[in-house]
Symmetry: C2
Subunit: 240 residues, 2 copies
């Protein structure tokens, strides 16, 4: 009675088939010069159904990307509150999603680069990721007040997305390169972000500054006593 019926939710023609056909047509004839009618006749799906299933001509290109996005969001929602770790894993998922089928992502990248309108669409996608990551980080941040935490979370998410996109673009430009290199670059970039983001997410108020310790003791203080006292002072300073 509920959540069933019909042909079972399976569309007559698979989404992936439509996307592939559309990508091919766009690449051959250009995005603007390809009409929905052409896609309809090429795929055997009526023009009307195309609009119903994908929403718009642009959305056909990004249909699979949308699925990836919701996967990542679900992943984040189910993640324990280990801020950076979970978010890095999520970014890994995204990159994986791209590397998985170059058949779509690579020609799409070429189209996106050529067409400003599609570029905006792509940018909007990354913004959605950024918002999701930022919200997650803000949710399970630990330091600072609402305001500072939100700022830190936003900046951290922006950094992460930027680094991810940096690696991603590197691959998209030369998709033939060994994927191990890509992942190595990814790990490197994530380390870079971690070093920058870790302190700001945990800082009470701003990141730690360098410390200068000036200790004055009587000249006859024993060496061990001196080290012990200095060690204690440093530890106290780090704990603040």
């Amino acid at each position: 009675m509920e959540r069933s019926g019909g042909r079972g939710g399976q569309p007559r023609v698979a989404t992936r088939e439509v996307v592939l056909a559309a990508v091919r047509l766009f690449t051959e004839s250009g995005f603007d010069d390809t009409t929905m009618d052409q896609i309809a006749t090429a795929t055997g799906v009526s023009r009307r159904s195309l609009f119903r299933r994908f929403g718009s001509k642009e959305d056909i290109l990004f249909a699979e990307h949308d699925e990836l996005f919701s996967t990542v969001v679900r992943y984040l929602e189910a993640s324990p509150d280990e801020p950076l770790t979970s978010v890095f894993a999520a970014a890994r998922l995204v990159l994986q999603g791209y590397l998985r089928d170059p058949e779509i992502t690579v020609p799409r990248y070429r189209l996106v680069r050529a067409h400003p309108r599609l570029r905006d669409r792509e940018v909007a996608m990354t913004a959605r990721y950024q918002a999701a990551f930022s919200s997650y980080l803000s949710r399970c941040g630990d330091g600072g007040g609402r305001e500072g935490r939100s700022l830190a979370a936003g900046v951290a998410a922006a950094s992460l997305i930027s680094a991810h996109n940096h690696v991603l673009r590197g691959w998209l430009r030369r998709p033939e390169q060994d994927s191990r290199e890509v992942w190595a670059g990814f790990d490197e970039a994530m380390d870079f972000v971690r070093r920058a983001a870790e302190p700001m997410l945990h800082a009470e108020r701003g990141p730690r500054r360098d410390h200068v310790l000036v200790a004055v003791y009587p000249g006859d203080t024993g060496r061990e006593e001196l080290l012990r006292r200095i060690g204690a002072a440093v530890q106290a300073s780090e704990g603040s």
Copy 2:
């Protein structure tokens, strides 16, 4: 003979007038339910001329923003190579551009929040800023190789934009608040970004660690002499 003629480049109706009228119509009737014909009759500019001057219905909303963007880009191009300082100043310009006329930016913000399509358009604008900032930082960065510098520049630009937008959104939600508070928040946010971005732009490899200085001098060393020597030592350590 060149660059003149016609009515002198001055449109019959000022751009700002058109934008204000459009904003009003959009706010009253909704963005989708406002047709270009309505804007045409409301402003006295023909439908055809509207498309010629603004490109699209969305672009009417962001016309002044586009001017601001090119201003900022010109500013950056003319700036000396003082990476972070110039970029912070540029961000200041942007925020200033928003605060300058709330008459447009505030209702536009409300529209953008309600309408996903306009949101994407707004996001695309900030992406353009981010790209400009990133390119500038990458141009006049000093540490690391091409690759690392590009990554660092991208992350720094993303952080800056994110922090800027954080402050901007705060104001847009409550535009009635004292602008001095906004600027205070901006300075705070910029400091936050500076602390995060400074080390990564100048780092040869990895961020600076905390330093611990242990100085031992004869007990009868004069206070000024002591300060001078310690200061010199710290400075030398920072230069590394």
